[in-house]
Symmetry: C2
Subunit: 596 residues, 2 copies
């Protein structure tokens, strides 16, 4: 198995060249204070070392070992505690955190690269900083000043870890029917009682304390989603001076046996009158949780991307090393018994698909992170509004399209290995098993598609989509005479097609077709994703086109070639998706339930 | 997890109604002697009971337990020995075997249904009868009368099991470079020495003896694939009277840790001057092995299908049971907290994809089996020739397209479960892990695609494809006025498109484009597969169309609806595949190896 290398060159290309962060960050005073390109670069470099040298070597063995549950205690695999401590010592848990409470205040565009490296090195472990950061965002945005002061500094320091507790045995997608209840105490706290399942890192031995964010209902709460509140429930209660007090009534009942991310603990959590504190307003829990969820959803997309990058690196190394059969153009290494399999077109095809998807995915997640940063840090109200719209529109696509394409990529990366890809020691099969969860958790990809098609598109009459398309069209006009010219017509057609399909579904939904949104959703999201990746490739070409004869010519010319591959060999899938969406839901819904 | 039920109703539909086996079998005297529709039906019924009641219940636990290797001995999971004995007692190992040596002589069309049930119940176990049958075919077709008499009766009885030993650590796809050597002894036997890897059921405790078919080279053999011979190497030597003698120099060095099919033993086999006997002619080993491989390749397609059917059954049961959110058309079960998720369009979409793929796959594998039967049993030389061509053409498609689509189906079947799909106890994730191997072994799906595009198409100038297309066109002409009419134009377009794409690739390859075949192969195979499934749906509609108002109306109308779904929501993918194939290999091959 190849050693995982953080793809720093590519990350720098995306940050510095494609999205020109220097200029962008300088334009937002609050960001300009904390970060410049040089600082960012040093952070990338250091994060890359940690991911490659410290974390990646743990990944394979941790999968075999898994977590162990004994009497409510969870023991993590070999090396995880030390790794956690290393991140804690380096301040990495607070990388994107609010400086007022000890965070480093780095923009999401940079944090996204850190996340990709960590997830590429080890997804099971990577869930820990990811969930911690998500929990911190929720607290920072919604909790009282007192709660923030009490919890955020230790969470940013990694001394305490975060967990989110939503799902119950009977309630996953449908959180409106949760049963966990919170009863008010006289001192303003609540007693939280109920059982949560699928709680990632709900219990472990890496941190002194674990801060749970728990969805629950007050006894007199309205039925359904409008009666849900969010509570902060620490595993160990915290004294007013910040020291640890007695254990709270929080316990881990068991951990799940899973397909992948086996080195992470997926916990059943029992709250038996555990003390908790309200975060945000009463009955506004879903909104507070969605702050976290949206953050996590971008993180899950990045998680898939990181693992897909690891798969690509392994596959390339194997394809250059493994000798098998001869090139169709004649022996390339006649002195050896066979040629390295990278000479074979079909092996190339698989590697090129991985490249084309990963590099576009990296640009796209960074682009979404850019809008998150602008919506948070810009002082220009119009830009802020547009950024908010783009975050809303793109988040489900980042989550679902990147993870769907990452699974596809990892399956190709496994296939390059032939039979060896199925054997555990080579690591490729683990990446497939690990990535598979990213399509499921934090809202299944089907739910993401419903969000994109329904709330983010049909409900606003397609306003956000038009805004996005206008940006792409402006880009085409601006760049059609350069290297992008080769792709301009195709991209322009794609964008026009996306607009037409969008309009068609909106018309159908407004016309009273109740299944229009659900029937179109997943295929529409994929159509949207492909067009977005095409846009990302065009943006990469716009930068690379001018540099194909310089010092780093091979790097830039590879971008043009990979863009060509994407346009020729992947983008045509939009034709099928378009037909499928336009076919509507009749044949999908026609069977009676008992005909299944 | 739902109890697996052999899909007998659907199998009968395919056999009796779509392909009218009564008439077909009666037309071939050698088959007419051994089987009629009534016998076949009784066999199906009995096989279904075994698969559902005896084998399926072992599957989940066997995956957890796996095989155990200690000092060269492999212990199988709980229940496997008894299951093996049950099949042996029932004569199931010889179901398709040559009656001259104790086989039952049943046609492949029927055997295929048996295989699907067994694989749907437990893939790991199902590999055992599958490999045994394949080994028997190879011996029956190529070995001397003496070897056949000595080995086949006990193999058909299941007393002895079969294994195929091809791969070596450095030689998988490229068997030309194997190093295992066979040195002739004076008594006509050979001493076989070498190491083989990835040998499925190469060692186990279920049978008295294991008969290995081993590829090896004589010391003076020509280099490359033309120097390969096939040897029969028993684990325990057999006396002339058929009794067991001393152990041969065959040992199992270890078993692999794998992604899936964990309950099967994947063995490293060491041959240390083991005694073996030549099967077929010297240096013709690859041809002899391919007799077996082609048989196995159809079997692997069926294996994927069986597991995909199991995934569908589980997903349907869960979708009817799990309550979550409300139907977009308003509450369907207002008295409950939520509606069953089968009301949601996107859940329907996933279930319909599974149905559309599984039912077409069942028809298609049975159709290929029909050509195998005709090529073996027909007395009409022209039919026999056509059948041989069809077997050659369709085998790689059955293997690769069905398994690719089965993985896709099982991923949908897992996704229906949300988070529960990722947890081992529900079984859906196991099916994904198990199916994944079917895309890899018996020749990766990329290799199947090269076979279809190169040897079976370009090399004969597209003759087989034209023959296949002529049949489909004749079918359309014959049926366009009935229920098929609705699909006739679309199918006709698809067939014309397939012909054009075929011609284009042939022209490119003949024009000297050396990567034309490799660059087109996988996408071409998928295009070919979709058109074949469309043809199968049209054939099913031709039968079902007349019966939508009878006693079993719901069954037949579901066929029409599912056909519609296939044509509207899956078949459009041919548009993309066409563009992708026609794009050629330039962008695929343009990068230098060190640009990866």
């Amino acid at each position: 198995m190849a050693e995982f290398q953080a793809p720093l060159r590519d990350m720098r290309f995306v940050l510095n060249e494609v999205f020109n962060v220097s200029e962008l960050w300088a334009s937002m005073p609050r960001l300009a204070e904390t970060v410049d390109a040089e600082t960012a670069d040093a952070i990338l470099e250091e994060a890359g070392k940690i991911a490659s040298a410290s974390l990646a070597p743990l990944n394979r063995e941790a999968d075999e070992q898994g977590c162990e549950w004994v009497d409510g205690q969870v023991t993590t695999p070999h090396g995880f505690k030390e790794m956690y401590q290393l991140l804690s010592d380096g301040g990495w848990f607070g990388l994107g955190g609010n400086p007022e409470f000890g965070g480093m205040g780095m923009p999401k565009m940079l944090v996204a690269q850190f996340e990709e490296m960590i997830q590429g090195a080890c997804m099971s472990f990577g869930l820990s900083p990811m969930l911690n950061a998500g929990a911190c965002v929720s607290i920072d945005y919604h909790a009282s000043q007192a709660l923030k002061e009490k919890y955020l500094p230790n969470m940013y320091a990694g001394t305490w870890a975060g967990a989110m507790d939503l799902t119950e045995p009977h309630a996953g997608t449908d959180l409106g029917i949760i049963r966990t209840k919170a009863e008010p105490n006289d001192d303003g706290s609540y007693n939280v009682t109920g059982t949560k399942i699928f709680i990632t890192w709900g219990e472990h031995d890496m941190a002194e304390n674990i801060i749970h964010l728990v969805l629950a209902k007050l006894p007199d709460a309205p039925a359904g989603p409008k009666g849900i509140s969010l509570f902060l429930v620490p595993k160990i209660l915290v004294n007013d001076d910040g020291s640890l007090a007695e254990a709270n009534h929080v316990s881990c009942g068991s951990i799940e046996k899973k397909m992948g991310i086996k080195a992470s603990a997926t916990c059943v959590m029992n709250f038996d009158g555990a003390k908790g504190w309200l975060v945000g307003e009463l009955n506004q829990g879903l909104a507070c949780m969605f702050t976290m969820m949206n953050y996590e959803r971008v993180g899950v997309g990045i998680q898939g991307l990181g693992a897909s990058e690891a798969s690509y690196q392994n596959a390339v190394a194997y394809a250059k090393d493994r000798l098998q059969s001869r090139s169709p153009s004649g022996a390339q290494q006649p002195e050896k018994a066979a040629d390295p399999i990278i000479v074979h077109p079909d092996v190339r095809r698989m590697l090129m698909i991985q490249r084309a998807l990963n590099e576009a995915g990296r640009a796209f997640s960074t682009y979404a992170a850019m809008w998150l940063d602008i919506s948070k840090y810009s002082d220009d109200e119009a830009q802020k509004t547009k950024a908010g719209n783009m975050v809303a529109l793109l988040t489900p696509v980042v989550k679902a399209f990147i993870t769907d394409k990452s699974l596809e990529s990892a399956i190709h990366g496994q296939q390059v290995f032939g039979g060896h890809g199925f054997i555990r020691e080579w690591g490729q099969e683990q990446l497939v098993r690990d990535i598979r969860i990213t399509q499921i958790y934090e809202g299944t990809n089907g739910i993401q598609a419903m969000d994109l098609m329904g709330r983010k598109t049909v409900m606003n009459g397609g306003e956000f989509v038009r805004e996005y398309i206008a940006e792409i069209e402006a880009f085409i006009v601006q760049h059609k005479d350069g290297a992008v010219g080769e792709f301009a017509m195709a991209l322009s057609d794609q964008v026009a097609n996306l607009q037409q399909v969008t309009d068609a579904v909106i018309a159908r939904a407004k016309g009273g077709d109740k299944v229009a949104v659900g029937a179109a959703a997943v295929d529409y999201l994929h159509l949207f994703g492909f067009v977005s990746y095409a846009y990302m490739w065009a943006r990469m070409v716009a930068v690379a086109g001018a540099k194909t004869s310089g010092a780093d010519a091979d790097f830039y010319s590879a971008k043009i070639t990979t863009a060509r591959f994407f346009f020729q060999r992947l983008l045509p899938q939009t034709r099928a998706l378009t037909e499928q969406v336009l076919a509507g839901g009749d044949s999908m819904m026609a069977l009676k339930a008992d005909q299944f």
